[in-house]
């Protein structure tokens, strides 16, 4: 573990390297490295400039606006915020999950599977596959989906079409690919027509086949250099996420489960409405992001990872057959009970991609998605909590309202926040193992970005151009004097300015 690199003992005598911004990661991220005179890493931190103003924006708004309003939190995962808010608002109108009409429940699941499918396809094919296919230290001109399109055209086209299919599922259920409506308090505002259902059925077998092929690909990539993939940015951690009552993988609704690094259960089947009794958030002075931790283990030991790796590690099985077979192979890869390789996030992600495609097919053959009983009603309540497994991890939405239905308090814990400590630990490990004592180059620093991207391409829930932002590397001494500066321009050219 590299926790000792969070804060250096004598930072005043160290050089500072700034990687700002982190590219192909949506939003602002910055990595600062403090070097000693021998270019050894003494301090490594990931700063995420996440604007948390949304919780304040929400206050004062009527609750029924929330499922539409919160979609603006994220350009990649608007549906996840939409559904997490909708689940919380169901409770405000007195509807518990078990009382949601079956058609509404299945339509929301279909919408969510479409969301996870498109987001996972984007994360892997568009943002991460260039690193895995061309190498972490390959020329920057190689590291884009267009380069993948040129070198591996079939694979790239499959990725593009998988994402498009997920977007089409979202469009059919909610009316638009981005920022559609669909979920309303207590249910859904429309069901699927037969024509819409048949349209989605046309391509689903192809999507399942391509998703299965992507799982085979990542397994091959991983096994092609096992020591590297198993060790890169790898940290043994706790894992948390939702599971079904029988322990199956769950993305839409279930109980909270956490396991430790040895696979022992820390908590299970916890009602997420009481998450405050199990999870607390710590604030640190050097970053805007909070650090959540499991209360039972305390601040130092209670941090955990969420997302695909956590979900596949935590669940006992997956209910769709091809994804379950892939999970068994994945787990067999690790000698221990849990897979801790950070790059295995991608493998787990593609197993979930396959699960989503299989689950979409099952739902499309279910007549309930064309049902007309879509909304339930109940007695007004003043507090609601909605939790969902967003593509990058467990997402909490918690609202309180007054007698006039105006939101008085909101708390959101997004998956990036839950993975904050883990991403910092991975950055420290990469910095310590791959950068210490070496000449600073852009490919080396890209290793840091690769570690971050394994978790999350979406740091600030804002949409910024990927790859367009210049990458600046600054080397400064303890007095703030710039002694070296590398700038990566948008055309991939790297220029030394100091």
């Amino acid at each position: 573990m590299y926790s000792h690199l969070e804060t250096a003992k004598n930072p005043e005598n160290l050089k500072r390297v700034v990687v700002d911004p982190v590219s192909r990661v949506e939003g602002h991220g910055k990595v600062t490295l403090l070097l000693d005179a021998d270019n050894k890493i003494q301090q490594a931190r990931l700063h995420i400039v996440e604007f948390r103003g949304f919780e304040r924006f929400i206050q004062g708004r009527p609750y029924w606006e929330l499922p539409v309003l919160v979609q603006r939190l994220c350009g990649i995962c608007p549906v996840s915020h939409h559904l997490a808010a909708a689940k919380a608002i169901d409770q405000l109108v007195g509807v518990d999950p078990e009382n949601l009409p079956i058609s509404a429940d299945k339509l929301r699941r279909l919408l969510h599977f479409g969301q996870v499918l498109q987001s996972h396809a984007l994360h892997f094919f568009h943002l991460s596959s260039p690193d895995l296919l061309f190498g972490f230290e390959s020329d920057i001109s190689q590291r884009s989906i267009m380069a993948v399109l040129a070198a591996y055209p079939d694979l790239a086209v499959q990725g593009v079409k998988l994402r498009k299919y997920g977007q089409e599922v979202i469009r059919m259920v909610s009316g638009k690919r981005i920022h559609g409506t669909g979920a309303i308090p207590g249910g859904m505002n429309k069901s699927l027509s037969k024509a819409e259902r048949d349209y989605l059925l046309e391509d689903i077998d192809q999507m399942i086949a391509w998703a299965a092929a992507s799982v085979a690909l990542i397994k091959t990539v991983h096994e092609s250099n096992l020591p590297y993939f198993d060790d890169f940015a790898t940290i043994p951690t706790n894992y948390m996420g939702l599971t079904q009552p029988d322990g199956a993988l769950e993305l839409y609704h279930g109980g909270l489960r956490a396991k430790n690094a040895q696979g022992q259960t820390i908590m299970d089947h916890v009602d997420y409405c009481h998450y405050n009794d199990y999870i607390h958030e710590e604030v640190r002075s050097w970053t805007y992001m909070k650090f959540p931790y499991l209360l039972s283990l305390g601040q130092e030991e209670g941090w955990y990872r969420v997302g695909p790796l956590a979900r596949i590690n935590n669940c006992d099985f997956i209910k769709t057959p091809q994804a379950e077979a892939a999970r068994i192979t994945f787990k067999a890869h690790s000698p221990g009970a849990m897979v801790h390789s950070t790059l295995a996030f991608h493998w787990a992600r593609l197993i979930e991609l396959l699960h989503c495609a299989e689950a979409i097919k099952e739902l499309l053959h279910d007549p309930d998605i064309m049902g007309l009983d879509l909304v339930a009603k109940g007695e007004k309540r003043y507090e609601g909590v909605g939790v969902i497994e967003a593509p990058r991890g467990t997402l909490f939405h918690h609202y309180q309202v007054d007698e006039n239905d105006i939101v008085t308090k909101a708390n959101l814990i997004v998956s990036t926040t839950s993975n904050n400590r883990a991403m910092n630990e991975s950055v420290r490990q990469v910095a310590a193992e791959y950068l210490s004592g070496r000449e600073l180059t852009e490919p080396l620093l890209n290793n840091l970005e690769v570690a971050i991207r394994a978790y999350d391409p979406c740091l600030s829930c804002a949409t910024h151009a990927m790859g367009k932002m210049p990458l600046q590397l600054e080397l400064m001494d303890a007095n703030g004097q710039l002694i070296d500066k590398l700038v990566k321009h948008s055309n991939g050219q790297i220029e030394r300015l100091a």
Binding site: P153, V160, K164, K176, R177, A465, M466, G467
Partner: protein, 158 residues
């Protein structure tokens, strides 16, 4: 379910004049017969949008442009791989280039309507000048859609 004509307005409704593309789409939706026309809006162009061009006979992209000198410009597009491929805010020409890469065939005839914009500040309303430009662009596009043939659209290019 695929209609032969696609009109795709892109931009951000919350960024002042950048809303011109989606606003033109709103106008078409409420003033035109959409039997043969599919309308689409998004914040920006992405790789996947190349697949929206499949099986179309004519495609019209609509965007706000601060570089536009006239009230609006109307031109035919050619596929061109440019630097915008590294971002998820691609140019329409780059989207056409992706289409060529994916489909291994020439894209359908595609045109770009650029509407003159001045300010795209976050949270700003549509400017007065842009509002006037939008009205004129809407009249022009309605006339285009009344005769959706390649020859007619080519004759209308500015």
């Amino acid at each position: 379910m695929i209609k032969p004509i696609l009109v795709f307005g892109y931009g951000n409704l919350s960024r002042g004049d950048d809303a011109l593309g989606p606003l033109l789409i709103n106008h078409i939706e409420s003033h035109c017969d959409l039997t043969e026309i599919e309308i689409l809006t998004d914040f920006q162009l992405q790789i996947e949008h190349a697949l929206d061009l499949e099986h179309r006979s004519l495609v019209l992209f609509v965007d706000a442009s601060v570089a536009c000198i006239n009230t609006f410009d109307f031109s035919q597009l050619s596929a061109a791989r440019d630097k915008s491929y590294t971002t998820h805010a691609m140019s329409p020409a780059a989207v056409l280039a992706v289409y060529v890469s994916i489909k291994k065939q020439t894209p359908p005839p595609c045109f770009l309507m650029s509407i003159k914009a001045e300010s795209m500040e976050l949270g700003a309303d549509l400017g007065k000048s842009a509002e006037n430009n939008l009205q004129q662009a809407c009249l022009f596009v309605k006339q285009l859609l009344q005769e959706p043939t390649l020859n007619h659209w080519l004759q209308q290019t500015t």
